[in-house]
């Protein structure tokens, strides 16, 4: 409501986070072609999700949000990723526990259930997960909530009235700024912010923060997939070429061997 000192930090922010193979890890496709090998591979919070958590925490630090809730969906190990978000400054976590292979549409539906429970004004998600590279969940959640969407955000500014948010987006031609009515789904792009490292004191503090455990059944969401993965393979490897001795040699090769000049 209006008036009084308390109205400013009225907003609740939900942040979605995903546990993925670390961006620097070497990707190995299983010999049977059933998928990518994740055994004994380093897992981390999806880089775009880190940016989303950082942005949410900054909203709290600016006094615009009163609570940041970190949400992740997946197997037991997703807990680790939620703990990292809590260590970065999120207040509490929600873990939707499932071993099912979740696809964006199912995830969006799970988020809808959580959004209906938590009543946030902003949902922050990474623009894409670096494993499936889908770039769909945020847009889908906005659709089924009938909310506005600000995708590929490189700048987010909540209006003083807290009824609208200005989002600058990285698009093919450059930058575009939209004014969105709240509540909104915002997906983060690379240059929105530089996420903080969780400090040891904050990691310790995070152990005391609550993580609520839910299941898709409890949320009433059917997570069966409309898409079947038939096989996964490696792309054709590019054969490395030669290091040349001089610019002259390069120009000659480009002209006479590659035929591109």
């Amino acid at each position: 409501g209006e008036g009084g000192g308390g109205w400013k930090a009225a907003m609740r922010v939900v942040v979605g986070i995903k546990r993925v193979i670390d961006y620097a890890a070497k990707i190995r496709v299983k010999p049977d072609g059933s998928g990518v090998d994740t055994a004994n591979v380093k897992m981390s919070m999806n880089p775009f999700c880190e940016i989303a958590v950082e942005e949410a925490v900054r909203l709290k630090e600016k006094g615009l949000a009163k609570e940041v809730i970190a949400v992740s969906m997946g197997p037991q190990a997703s807990q680790d990723t939620i703990r990292t978000a809590l260590a970065m400054g999120a207040d509490r976590g929600v873990h939707v526990l499932t071993d099912a292979k979740l696809q964006p549409l199912s995830i969006a539906k799970l988020f809808k259930s959580i959004v209906q429970r938590e009543d946030p004004k902003i949902v922050l998600l990474g623009k894409q997960a670096i494993d499936d590279d889908c770039n769909q969940t945020g847009q889908m959640l906005a659709a089924i909530m009938d909310w506005s969407q600000g995708t590929f955000a490189s700048q987010v500014a909540v209006a003083d009235c807290q009824e609208r948010v200005s989002v600058t987006r990285e698009v093919d031609g450059g930058l575009e700024t939209l004014s969105l009515k709240l509540p909104a789904v915002i997906t983060t792009d690379l240059r929105l912010n530089e996420p903080r490292y969780a400090t040891l004191p904050n990691i310790m503090k995070a152990k005391k923060k609550k993580i609520e455990k839910l299941t898709p059944e409890e949320l009433g969401v059917d997570v069966s997939s409309q898409i079947e993965v038939l096989s996964v393979r490696e792309p054709q490897a590019r054969v490395g070429g030669k290091v040349l001795e001089s610019v002259d040699e390069l120009v000659d090769k480009l002209k006479n061997e590659a035929g591109v000049l």
Partner: protein
Amino acid sequence: GLKVRVAQATGAERRSGKELTKVGSSGGEMWSRTLLKSLRGARQSSQQSGERSLGTLCIVEAKDGAGGLDSASKATLACAQKHLPKPFVALVASDAKGASEEAAGEIASLAGVETVLHGVSDKEGANGLLAEPLSQVVAALVGKLEPTHVVTGSNTFGKNLLPRVAALLDSAPITDVVQVVDESTFVRPIYAGNALSTVKFVGKGPLLLSVRTTAFGSEALETAQGAGAEVASVGAEEVAAGAAAEALSEWVGEEKSESERPQLDAARVVVSGGRALKSKENFEMLEKLADQLGGALGASRAAVDAGMCSNDLQVGQTGKVVAPELYLAIGISGAIQHLAGMKDSKTIVAINKDPEAPIFKVADYGLVGDLFKIIPELAEKLPSQK
């Protein structure tokens, strides 16, 4: 029910007891008036029985001043033409009436098109491209036309729009497709293109997909023989479907790079700079090289992050994906995420002072040395391509 599919380019097909023959001679297909009339008739009867009968709905974006269809739109239409069920209806979304009409006219002359629709929004300007109202219009159009497939490009326009449409239709989309295996089976890259996933759609449909420009952009578009397709305005009912959502968002402004150079995702040559350029002024040194080669400028994430150039130059997993004839990676180390955006280039040249830089593993030709010496020498010795 009657399921009508139009014959593919390879000859006569028999479908559901109805024989469809390719009319006309050599080369491309000719869609005779009689064939189209019979399709319309079939569609009416199948709409009554609730079956889908339109092949594909293509969504293309026509921007003011673009001077014709962009590469993403061409890739969308090429994919529809070569790989997806016909006939197709094209929907032109635009920020300007003139651009919209120009694009519609261009599309109407293509083979396989039944109708081109435009005039999606009453709003002039970039508000006509906002996802919230546009997705509702598209969803309404899908409800009316009942296509089996909906396709658009995998550029920022398509990425912003298609998943929203898909969710409204409760259909899981398949995005960033690089290969069509059959009408329900597709290949898409995952893990920054380090793996390729073959997926099959098993939902009730429609099947929504977005296509990577580099995978379909080089296929030439076939023109129709005979009269072109009908160009019409989107129906009032469908336009009205977007009205309520217009309140959700508003276009405020943009910062776009103006350049005479070719578009990055369609250029024959790309001159790309990385962190080693060190400054904006140094980065501008590449502009001369790009101009000499008649190419576009590209950049690694590090260069953009450092403020050396604008974000629209970024090539990579989460930036633009390019596949030019010639890609010059200058002062770029070759991180996985960058390779994802350029490893399908025909010829890759790497210039870097670190002989261990991963870029040399994918480059056809490399030069190890100081780029600040190599680039001026290269500029001097390259024949001008303009």
